[in-house]
Subunit: 311 residues, 2 copies
């Protein structure tokens, strides 16, 4: 067959996502050359050590020079500045993309900087872990996960198809929608869940000191599940909430309304309302498992990890 899908692939920001893209592209031979840049010299040194990049230039502009696809992998609030930095280096036909968890604001920030001879095709892989940095990434992160591509109006269809091909090559399933719809869907599937996880962990932390230590001790009753996503990177999540404000406030409003109804059922001892609510919610998990987006093993299969037995 012909050569790799992408001649020169540049990744800007060697964090969890950037380093996973680089690893996946390298492992699957998707690019002739994988270029990774990071603003931090120590991270660049580490990238060289880890060996998932062919070149590790100092600046984003150097990485973008001559690249066919540039994937910007930095917190949402930094994407405008990175776009401004790389813009002068973009060659004709270059595709600029990103992986940000918010899409409307990313388009607003990046689009004004992209020259007419290049293409902006924003995307968001719905995959991640609670860890950060170049050591946290792995090549299989995107396998059987969704990548949402959010082309802007009038986007070049060949450029969109090329970027979709890159994500499919990394094992992802691709879905297309508008940046605005993406932000609404992610507000309920990701942003509000993170907010309430951060919140309950915060509430536990505000308790008197002895009670907080008991929370840690007895966390296996459910609380520990929330601490996982509340351990995610604070900069990334600050930016998500600052840049997806409208949709998050909308979904949070629905959440608190519903919570008031449950609270009321508890206060007035309405067992039937509670039972009915707790029964309906089981169907959603079944669907998620059926669609291959979750493990059916009890307790996420944690015991397999800890004890080496299936319990």
């Amino acid at each position: 067959m012909s050569g790799p899908l992408v001649g020169r692939l540049a990744i800007i920001g060697a964090g969890l996502i950037g380093s996973s893209v680089a690893r996946a592209a390298k492992e699957k031979g998707l690019a002739g050359t994988v270029v990774v840049s990071d603003r931090d010299a120590a991270v660049r040194a580490r990238v060289l050590e880890l060996g998932f990049a062919d070149e590790v230039p100092e600046t984003g502009a150097q990485a973008a020079e001559g690249a066919d696809i540039i994937v910007v992998c930095v917190p949402v609030g930094a994407s405008g500045a990175v776009a401004a930095e790389i813009a002068p280096a973009l060659k004709p036909g270059a595709i600029v993309s990103d992986v940000g968890s918010v899409k409307g604001a990313v388009v607003e920030q990046m689009a004004p900087h992209i020259p007419a001879h290049a293409h902006l095709v924003p995307a968001h892989p719905v995959a991640g872990t609670e860890f950060s940095g170049p050591d946290a990434g792995f090549a299989t992160l995107f396998e059987n996960r969704w990548c949402i591509v959010t082309p802007t109006e009038g986007a070049d269809s060949e450029a969109v198809a090329k970027l979709e091909g890159l994500w499919r090559g990394m094992g992802a399933n691709v879905e297309t929608m508008s940046p605005q719809h993406h932000d609404l869907v992610l507000a309920i599937t990701s942003h509000v869940p993170h907010l309430i996880a951060y919140n309950i962990v915060g509430t536990a932390e505000h308790l008197e000191h002895t009670l907080t230590s008991e929370v840690i001790k007895f966390s296996a009753g459910g609380f520990r599940d929330f601490t996982r996503i509340a351990a995610s990177d604070p900069t990334m999540w600050r930016d998500v909430f600052l840049y997806n404000r409208e949709a998050v406030l909308e979904m949070l409003g629905r959440f608190t309304e519903d919570l008031s109804a449950l609270q009321r059922a508890i206060r007035y001892g309405d067992g039937d309302a509670l039972f009915e609510h707790f029964t309906r919610t089981r169907a959603i998990r079944r669907s998620i498992i059926e669609q291959g987006q979750e493990t059916a093993a009890p307790d996420f299969g944690r015991r397999v990890v800890k004890d080496g037995t299936a319990g």
Copy 2:
């Protein structure tokens, strides 16, 4: 050494917890005879098939007859009726215990039925999964987990020590506290987390139909973590909220106050407040992992389960 810890151990209710107690006791040789009863004939037949009980009588009273320790493993709201049923069958010195997730209400319901010649020693193993029934249990469920024993005032110290020995024998660490304090700690570590998980899954379900199907599709962004605990048994959880009302409403009040503060920070774009909050919450997870109550593997180690690789 001498014989097993308990001569005759009776378990009433062969669900997740009851069947795990029976399996653990049998596997570790903690009892001379393990007797399991369940109100449902089909479940009793299944218990016989699964082979973790020496005797499977039809009624709780028959199981309690001659037993040294009786562990009642039914939903909190059913514990009073079970206590009333078994009371006439209790031999002198018999220890009646339970595993209910609420302790104040269980004491209120059970204590009036226990005759003076027997001992009530309530307990709650802080361990479980989202599954139910006799097939869901396993012998290692309690290993390295806490079991909270909540003796009532003036409890017989020998009886308490004996029950603690049984839980230690099953691999649990034992902690003692008052029923009231237990209910407060569990409200924040388990009951409110379950309530908000049930709630956000409910909110997602109330969205327009197409949006709900997108929630399922893109649940890997965080939402799916919540669906696990929102798939737990509705009867059990209805009873938890009905019988731990005061403490749950108290902790829920704190949660919603804190959530309002985060909501306000989002509305007014206070990135520093968000960043500061998201930074503090990471320490709690570290402590939970250090204390051996959680796996440090990314994403709960889900990938190990699904793909057979550590990712």
